[in-house]
Every structure is written in structure tokens, then in C-alpha cells.
């Protein structure tokens, strides 16, 4: 544990937490452009957070303490996820405490708590949202783990920083196992972040909503924390994708120059990734909720296939 590691760790955590809403704003702005709208500007999520933080919280009469704790738990666990996913540098001092499996565990922790909070008030929407969220998670979590396993089979390590370093040192070519993993990962990313085609972040239609149904009862600062946590989650997921599939350019050695170079590269990749996400959301339609298991099942199978291909071809 050197001072540099701690510095990069804190820097990356701070950047992620502060910049995450910006990525969300960028995705929304891109989508607006693609849909021939003017859009609200990429700083809109900050305005929304500010507005929410200043409001008075209204909480249902029969809410339990769990309900009020969950936004903080979500925010805390997403900060942790942001800390261990190597986005800026691979010299992260905290990465030894939590590896790829623990990362999936953190997402599971957040998912279970938000589902429990959704069931706490006892409304029809809350329970329905919780059920759907757990259904999506039930298939998405193994798929994500399979993707991470494929990467760790290549690097012989489940530590995320070790994996990313190994991947970044390889030549640029298409590895069949990682290609399958990339498809699986993209599907998981869409499902886990409540994006089209599994969920629609812009809709409050009772028949289709998942994520929004769960947070209906939240308001003000609690809602702000949840929204913020969701944007950190999106940021973390996009970062995982970048780190696993296009890791080139990440700061590896303990030098200050590397970080200075890594930052603009990361931003460029995030901008491209965000645009890609907006593109997917624009050209695809929302699926019926009953199709979600098929979608996630496909992702899971692609993940397993990636792992099998690695065993078969060794690449």
C-alpha cells in the first residue's frame, strides 16, 4: 500500500462519484439529439439532484427504518463499486480488498436492498417492481459473473486490477472468448441499468416499469441519493466495459504522467460509450416484460459460451 496507490484510489473515487451524473446527462443529451430534440443539456442531472436535495422529504406513514436507510446503503455500496473498478488507473490500493466476485456481490447487495425497500410500503407497484428487478437480477448477475470469469481465466486472477493489466498488455486483436463476453456484457449493462429494451428510464407506465416502480415512494434527498447511486452504477458498468474490452490507455505504472494521459483517454472512451448507449436506446424498442427472461437468458448463455470458448481455444 503505497501513497501513490492511495492517491489514485481517492482520485478515481472522487472523479467517479462527481462525474457520474455527467455521464448520465451526456447519454440523455445524445438521445435527445438522435431523436431530433434539443435536450436539457448535459448538466441537467446535477440540477435535478440539487432540486431534490433542497426539498422536504415525504415518507409514507408505515415506512420502516429500513426504508430510510436504503438510499444511504445504495449510495455507499455504489461508491465502493466505483472505487474498485479500475477506470483511471490500475494502481488502486483498495482493490485487494474486493475482487471481481465481490464486485458482483456489491451489485447484488444494492439490488436486494432496493427491492426490500420497494416492498416496505406495501403498495402494488412496489412489490411488482421488486419482483421484476429480482427477476432481471437473477439472470443478469450470473451473466455478469460469467463475463468477469472469462476475463479472469485469461489473467489467472480474479483481482480486477490484475485482470485489466493483463488485458491491457495484450495485442489488439479480436479474442473469440472476449467477443462472446462482450455481447453478454452489453446485454447485462442494458438490463442492470434499467435501459431499453428491458426497462425504460423515462417511463412511468405501470405495466412496464421496473426501476421506477421501486422508487415511487421516495422523494427529496432520499430520491436524490438513489438517482445519484444509479448514475454511479451506470458509470461503474461502462467503466467495467471499457476496462475489460478496450483497456488500452489506462494508467498502469506508478507515475503521474500516466494519470495525466489516462484521464483524457478515459473521457473520450466514456463519451463514445455514452453515445453508443444512446444509439442503442434510440434504435431499439422496449420489450414486453415477459421477454426479459429470454433476453437475460441469452446474455447468460453468451457468458457461458465465452468461458467455454476460452477452455476450448485457450484464447
Amino acid at each position: 500500500m503505497n501513497a501513490f496507490g492511495i492517491f489514485t484510489q481517492l482520485l478515481q473515487l472522487l472523479l467517479t462519484v462527481l462525474l457520474a451524473p455527467l455521464l448520465l446527462g451526456w447519454v440523455n443529451q445524445c438521445r435527445a439529439w438522435l431523436q431530433n430534440r434539443k435536450g436539457a443539456g448535459i448538466e441537467q442531472p446535477y440540477r435535478k439532484l440539487r432540486k431534490l436535495f433542497y426539498k422536504d422529504a415525504v415518507i409514507a406513514n408505515n415506512a420502516s427504518p429500513l426504508f430510510r436507510m436504503v438510499p444511504y446503503i445504495l449510495f455507499g455500496s455504489m461508491c465502493l463499486a466505483a472505487a474498485i473498478v479500475p477506470s483511471l488507473a490500475t494502481d488502486l490500493s483498495f482493490s485487494a480488498a474486493a475482487d471481481a466476485i465481490a464486485l458482483v456481490g456489491i451489485f447484488a447487495l444494492a439490488r436486494i436492498f432496493i427491492s426490500l425497500a420497494a416492498m416496505d410500503i406495501g403498495t402494488a407497484f412496489g412489490g411488482m417492481g421488486a419482483r421484476r428487478e429480482m427477476l432481471v437480477g437473477f439472470l443478469a448477475e450470473p451473466a455478469l459473473l460469467m463475463v468477469l470469469f472469462t476475463a479472469s481465466l485469461i489473467s489467472h486472477s480474479t483481482s480486477l486490477t490484475e485482470t485489466v493489466e493483463t488485458l491491457a498488455h495484450r495485442h489488439f486483436e479480436i479474442y473469440p472468448s472476449m467477443a462472446f463476453a462482450a455481447i453478454a456484457f452489453l446485454m447485462v449493462l442494458l438490463a442492470e441499468n434499467a435501459r431499453i429494451p428491458v426497462d425504460n428510464p423515462a417511463s412511468h407506465l405501470e405495466l412496464t416499469m421496473i426501476h421506477e416502480a421501486m422508487i415511487l415512494e421516495y422523494s427529496a434527498r432520499h430520491l436524490a441519493l438513489i438517482e445519484w447511486a444509479s448514475s454511479i452504477k451506470l458509470f461503474a458498468y461502462v467503466s467495467i466495459g471499457i476496462a475489460l474490452f478496450v483497456p488500452w490507455g489506462i494508467a498502469q505504472a506508478s507515475d503521474w504522467l500516466g494519470i495525466a494521459f489516462a484521464l483524457p483517454i478515459l473521457i473520450a472512451k466514456l463519451l463514445a460509450g455514452g453515445f453508443g448507449l444512446a444509439l442503442i436506446e434510440t434504435v431499439m424498442a422496449k420489450q414486453r416484460i415477459f421477454r426479459a427472461p429470454e433476453f437475460m437468458g441469452t446474455a447468460f448463455l453468451f457468458g457461458v459460451l465465452g468461458m467455454l470458448v476460452h477452455f476450448l481455444l485457450g484464447a
Binding site: L80, F149, T158
Partner: protein, 659 residues
């Protein structure tokens, strides 16, 4: 402390029996039995746990009891001491809980007390036995005492038939174990069995008998049918003991047989155990997701966890067969740690259902809800148990899952190429099971403790007493401790893996803070750091929000998208919550649906989800037995003359045979 530990544990077991007898004698004074006998039993459990944890070398003893010329041999080695640790530490919580729980059972309290403590003593002797005689005697004592505990409320016909099923499965298993000991030959001491060398065919035969026998006790597919029947029937502390501890004695038996007594591992034995384990785990997870009775749900969840334990065991056998001892040790440590974890979180959840049952009189999830307001103590400890069982970091369930996945991931190429392909598929199935456990636990916890009360009667639910709280707290703290400080137990497990597979994982290299089974570069996990950082992040977020913004809050009626009418009946039911799983995995279930016609004036819809194995195996088997019994019934004439004739014919036949 050479020789001391085993003496202490034998003393503890005898003390348990004595406590049971005192309890029976003092049955007219229920307060004495509850407040003195059960807490003393808990203390004895602590004694067992501590002496098992501190015992070092293998210790042997010969009991003066036993049959003439056949003294009982006792032996305490690191394997049995680890399982005694499980027994003792879980018993502490369960016995303390029982001190409060059995207040409504004043009529049967004396017999419950006796059977409960005999059950504990029998399990102790199963773990200490060093010959087949003592093993079988205590195995049977364990089965019988638990049978009587299951049928405590024997006036209810369902409970009687559940008890009968349990007894039947226990005995089918016991016969198989007896046959196994028969094939091992020798003078039936474990020492002699260790020295005999069997051919591959004989050993395989013995192995299959052992898998069947111990599998029937553990509840592997398709011998799991007794679990979902017996657990709802039994009083909750008994369910907790059976699920948390007794199932582990079967795992102990199988470990003892495969690694110690047969000490020859063929790779396909491992594949068999692995396949059975995966099927059991997936089946258990899927079935627990569609249950509506909270104890049945937990029973299926036990089936799932036994499956996970068997997966680890199978993996260890495969690695051992190819002399990859370090990996075998990793898989074994994961398996054993999961046994300990399961003892804690499953006992905890069963006890929580017991408290809920006492407070509401209801086992059906569809009639519960909102209990976090009425029973906060139970609800918060149950949350710990539910998160632990769902494998959420930093609790204990995650640690064993993590270790097991590490064992799967670092298979550096088994020599068998098909096997090599199977390992990732098995890992995928295991991960799917873990995710399903999360689904099940959200369903269980959300429906029982959160939301609005689904019935009017729930408004009168009362909280639990002090004894119950203490018992629940012990188990919940155990889950947290085992999650945060796995190092201390895993270091202890190194001796077990040395004994069984001749290698150990080296946790010492990474220090007590980190868990790094192979090397820190390959994988490391630090639950304590994880916890501290998460808590810091949560605390900072909380303080920042408090500091920079006002903390104003109002209470109002729920928003609910603006719909004004909102009753507790509009919440998701347990059937509703399980519906997606029922739909995705429809071929697994036998579903009987009754749909109303559109013209019904009082339409009723019902769907019943059943286990296909009943129809595939058990009912045909029962019919065959009945048919055979009918045939044999024909030769039973009930007249002495006919029986004398049979005797005569047999005698003639034997005489001819001898010549």
C-alpha cells in the same frame, strides 16, 4: 491438552443426557425446565465448541460401555472436531432460544427436553464414533430422537404422516450405511477399515452405498422429499437443529468415508457427487422460490445448500483424484466453511420463523406481512440471516461462495478434456443458484416482514421474549463474525484439509486481514476492509446530507402513483412473487391449475405446484411395495399348520443345500 478434549466432549454428551432426564423428572415444573435445563444445555454446547476448537492431536478413547467384548471406540481428530464445533456453537443459540420458545408446550415439555438433549448427545457420538457399532447406534438414536421431536404435535394427522416419511427415509438411508459397513469388512473398527485395500469395483460399490445412505439424510435429489414435510411439522428449534446441524452429520459421514476410510478417490466419483450436487442445488433453489409456507421455503433452501456443499465435495474429490492437492484443499475448505455458515444462518432463519409462528400462529406467507413494525428484533436478525444466505458481502455466506468459485476458477487444466469443459458449466450453474437464493430471500423477507399486514389478526402480533432475542442475537452475530473474520476458522480448517487431502491452503501468507487462498495476486478479499469502507461511505453520505441540507421530513400517505384506494390485499402475494420463476422453469414443476369459467358467479382460481419426483419415483415405488405385499400376503394363512409346513420345507431345502 492430550486426551482432555475428548474426555470433556464425552462428558458433555453424557451431561446432556443427564439434563434430559432431569428435565423429564421435573416436567411438572416447566419454568425450571425452561430457565435452568435449556440454558445449561447451551452452556454444555459452548463447552463442546470450545474443547473441539482447542483440541489438537487426534485423541482416542475406549468407552467402558458397549456390548460384551465389543467396547465402543471413540476418536477425535480434526475433521470430527470441526463438526463438533458446528454442533456446539449452533446449539448455544438454539438452546437459549428454546428456553423461551417452549413456553406454550408445557404438556410435552418433559419429553421434549429429554428427546432434545438425547438428540444432541447422539449427534456428538456420531461425530466421535470410531467403529461401525457405535456409529450405527448413535446414528439410529439420532434418527429416533429427532423423529419423536418432529412428531411433537402428533395429534395432527399431517404431522404424523410427515414423521412417518422422515422415519422411513432415515431408515432406508441407515440400511444403506449398514450395508456399506458390511462391505468394508474387518472387525468393523474404523482403524481396520482404513487399512483394508479394496479393489476398484468393491470400493465403488461401497462408495455408492455410502452416497445413498448419507444422501438420504442430507436430502440430495431425489431423496430430498422428507425435508419439506418434516421441517414444517417440527417445532422451530428442532427444525433449526435438524437443518443446521443434523444434515451436516451426513456430510461428515460422507467426508469420513470418501477421504478417510476408503482413501481412494476415483475421478468419476467426484463427477457423480458434483452432478448430484448441482442438480440438488438448482432444484432446491427453484422450488424454494415457489413455496408459500415459510418453513417449506426454508426446507427447500436447505436442499439447495446441501447441493452447494456436495458440489464443493465433488470438486475436492476430482482434484484429489488427479493429485491436485492444493486445489482439493481449497474446495474442501470452501465446503466445510459453508457447512459452518449454513448451520448459523439456517438455524437463525428457522428460529425467526418460530418466533413469527408463535406471535401470529401463521406459517403461510400469504397471511403475514409488516412484521418489522411489530417484531423489530426478529426482523433485523432475520435480515442478517437472509442476506447471509443470499451470499451478500460482507456476511458469511459470501465467504464460502467466494472460496468455492475460486476453486472452480483455478482449475489449471484437468487432464481430462471433457471434465475441463464441465467445470465452467458447473460454475455457471452454481452461480445461477446463488442468484436464485437472493430472489428467494427477498421474497421470504419482503413478504413476511415488510409491507402491510395482510390479515387483521397481525395487528395484535407481539414481540419475542428475552431468551428468544438472546438466541437470535447469538446466531446473527455468528453470521457477522464468520463473515468478517473468516481467517480464524479457516486457519483451523488447514488441519482438516491436511488430514483429508494432504495439503492446505495458506491463509497465513496474506495476513489476518485478507483472505487469499492461493496467492494475493490471484485473488484476495478482505471482508473487514470492505465493511469499514462501506460504512465510511454510508456515514459520510449521511453526514454530508445532514450538514449541507436541512433534514426536514414529513409523513404522509403513500404516493402509489396517485391511486387513492390501497388495501393490504393489493400487495404482491407470495404466489405472485414466485410466478416468474414458475413460468420460466415450468417443466420442473407439476402444476395443477383450476381456471374459472367466464360465467362463474363466484370465480375461483387455484394453482398447485408439486414435486415431480413424487410421481416419478415415490408413488410408483409405493404401489410396487403394496403389490408385493399383496402377493406375500397370500402365503400368510394365519394357521399354525401352514407355518409348520413352511418350516419343514425350508429345513428340507437347507439340508439338501448343505449336502
Amino acid at each position: 491438552m492430550n486426551g482432555l478434549a475428548i474426555d470433556l466432549i464425552v462428558f458433555a454428551a453424557i451431561f446432556w443426557i443427564a439434563l434430559g432426564l432431569v428435565g423429564l423428572a421435573a416436567r411438572n415444573n416447566p419454568v425450571f425446565v425452561r430457565w435452568v435445563i435449556f440454558p445449561l444445555g447451551a452452556l454444555v454446547g459452548a463447552l463442546v465448541a470450545v474443547s473441539a476448537f482447542l483440541a489438537d492431536a487426534p485423541e482416542t478413547a475406549i468407552s467402558p460401555l458397549g456390548l460384551p467384548d465389543l467396547p465402543f471406540h471413540l476418536r477425535l481428530d480434526s475433521l470430527s472436531s470441526f463438526f463438533l464445533l458446528i454442533l456446539g456453537s449452533a446449539t448455544v443459540g438454539i438452546s437459549i432460544f428454546s428456553a423461551g420458545y417452549f413456553r406454550n408446550e408445557e404438556k410435552h415439555l418433559g419429553t421434549i427436553c429429554l428427546q432434545y438433549h438425547v438428540f444432541l448427545a447422539a449427534m456428538t457420538f456420531v461425530l466421535l464414533a470410531d467403529d461401525a457399532f457405535l456409529f450405527m447406534v448413535s446414528w439410529e438414536a439420532m434418527a429416533l430422537s429427532s423423529y419423536f421431536l418432529v412428531t411433537t404435535d402428533h395429534k395432527i394427522p399431517e404431522i404424523r404422516s410427515a414423521g412417518f416419511l422422515y422415519l422411513l427415509m432415515a431408515h432406508v438411508g441407515a440400511i444403506s450405511i449398514l450395508l456399506y459397513f458390511g462391505t468394508m469388512g474387518g472387525d468393523h473398527s474404523f482403524d481396520a477399515m482404513r487399512k483394508t485395500h479394496l479393489s476398484d469395483v468393491q470400493a465403488t460399490f461401497a462408495f455408492l452405498l455410502a452416497v445413498f445412505g448419507f444422501g438420504a439424510k442430507a436430502g440430495i435429489l431425489p431423496l430430498h422429499v422428507w425435508l419439506p414435510e418434516a421441517h414444517p411439522a417440527a417445532p422451530s428449534p428442532v427444525s433449526a437443529l435438524m437443518s443446521g446441524v443434523m444434515l451436516k452429520t451426513a456430510v461428515y459421514g460422507l467426508l469420513r468415508v470418501v477421504f478417510d476410510l476408503l482413501h481412494m478417490e476415483l475421478w468419476w466419483w467426484g463427477v457423480l457427487i458434483l452432478a448430484i450436487g448441482l442438480a440438488t442445488a438448482l432444484f432446491g433453489a427453484i422450488f424454494s422460490a415457489v413455496q408459500s409456507d415459510m418453513k417449506r421455503l426454508l426446507a427447500y433452501s436447505s436442499v439447495e445448500n446441501i447441493g452447494i456443499i456436495f458440489v464443493g465435495l465433488g470438486l475436492a474429490v476430482i482434484f484429489k483424484a488427479y493429485s491436485m492437492n492444493a486445489l482439493a484443499a481449497l474446495a474442501l475448505v470452501a465446503t466445510l466453511y459453508h457447512c459452518l455458515n449454513h448451520a448459523f444462518f439456517k438455524s437463525l432463519l428457522f428460529l425467526c420463523t418460530g418466533s413469527v409462528l408463535h406471535a401470529t400462529g401463521e406459517r403461510n406467507l400469504g397471511k403475514l406481512g409488516g412484521l418489522i413494525h411489530k417484531m423489530p428484533w426478529v426482523a433485523w436478525t432475520a435480515l442478517v440471516g437472509a442476506l447471509a444466505i443470499a451470499g451478500i458481502p460482507p456476511l458469511n455466506g459470501f465467504v464460502s461462495e467466494w472460496l468455492l468459485l475460486q476453486a472452480f476458477l483455478f482449475t489449471p487444466g484437468l487432464p481430462h478434456s471433457y471434465l475441463n469443459m464441465l467445470i465452467p458449466v458447473a460454475a455457471a450453474a452454481l452461480v445461477l443458484t446463488g442468484a436464485a437464493a437472493g430472489y428467494v430471500m427477498v421474497k421470504f423477507y419482503g413478504i413476511v416482514f415488510l409491507g402491510q399486514p395482510r390479515e387483521e389478526t397481525l395487528h395484535g402480533a407481539h414481540s419475542t421474549g428475552k431468551w428468544e432475542r438472546a438466541g437470535l442475537l447469538w446466531l446473527a452475530l455468528g453470521c457477522v463474525f464468520l463473515g468478517l473474520a473468516p481467517f480464524f476458522v479457516i486457519r483451523h480448517l488447514a488441519e482438516v484439509s491436511m488430514l483429508l487431502v494432504g495439503a492446505n491452503i495458506s491463509p497465513d501468507k496474506a495476513g489476518w486481514l485478507f483472505l487469499a487462498p492461493i496467492s494475493p495476486e490471484r485473488a484476495s478479499y478482505s471482508p473487514l476492509l470492505f465493511m469499514v469502507v462501506t460504512l465510511c461511505a454510508i456515514g459520510l453520505a449521511f453526514l454530508a446530507v445532514r450538514r449541507f441540507y436541512h433534514g426536514r421530513m414529513r409523513r404522509g400517505s403513500p404516493w402509489n402513483c396517485g391511486y387513492p384506494i390501497r388495501t393490504s390485499r393489493m400487495q404482491d402475494t407470495s404466489e405472485g412473487f414466485g410466478q416468474p420463476i414458475r413460468q420460466i422453469f415450468e417443466p420442473f414443476f407439476r402444476i395443477g391449475r383450476e381456471l374459472p369459467s367466464p360465467f362463474d358467479s363466484a370465480p375461483r382460481y387455484s394453482a398447485k405446484t408439486e414435486d415431480r419426483f413424487w410421481y416419478w419415483i415415490y408413488l410408483p415405488f409405493a404401489r410396487a411395495v403394496e403389490y408385493m405385499a399383496g402377493i406375500f400376503g397370500k402365503i400368510q394363512q394365519g394357521r399354525i399348520l401352514v407355518y409348520l409346513l413352511y418350516n419343514f420345507v425350508t429345513l428340507i431345502a437347507l439340508l439338501m443345500f448343505v449336502q
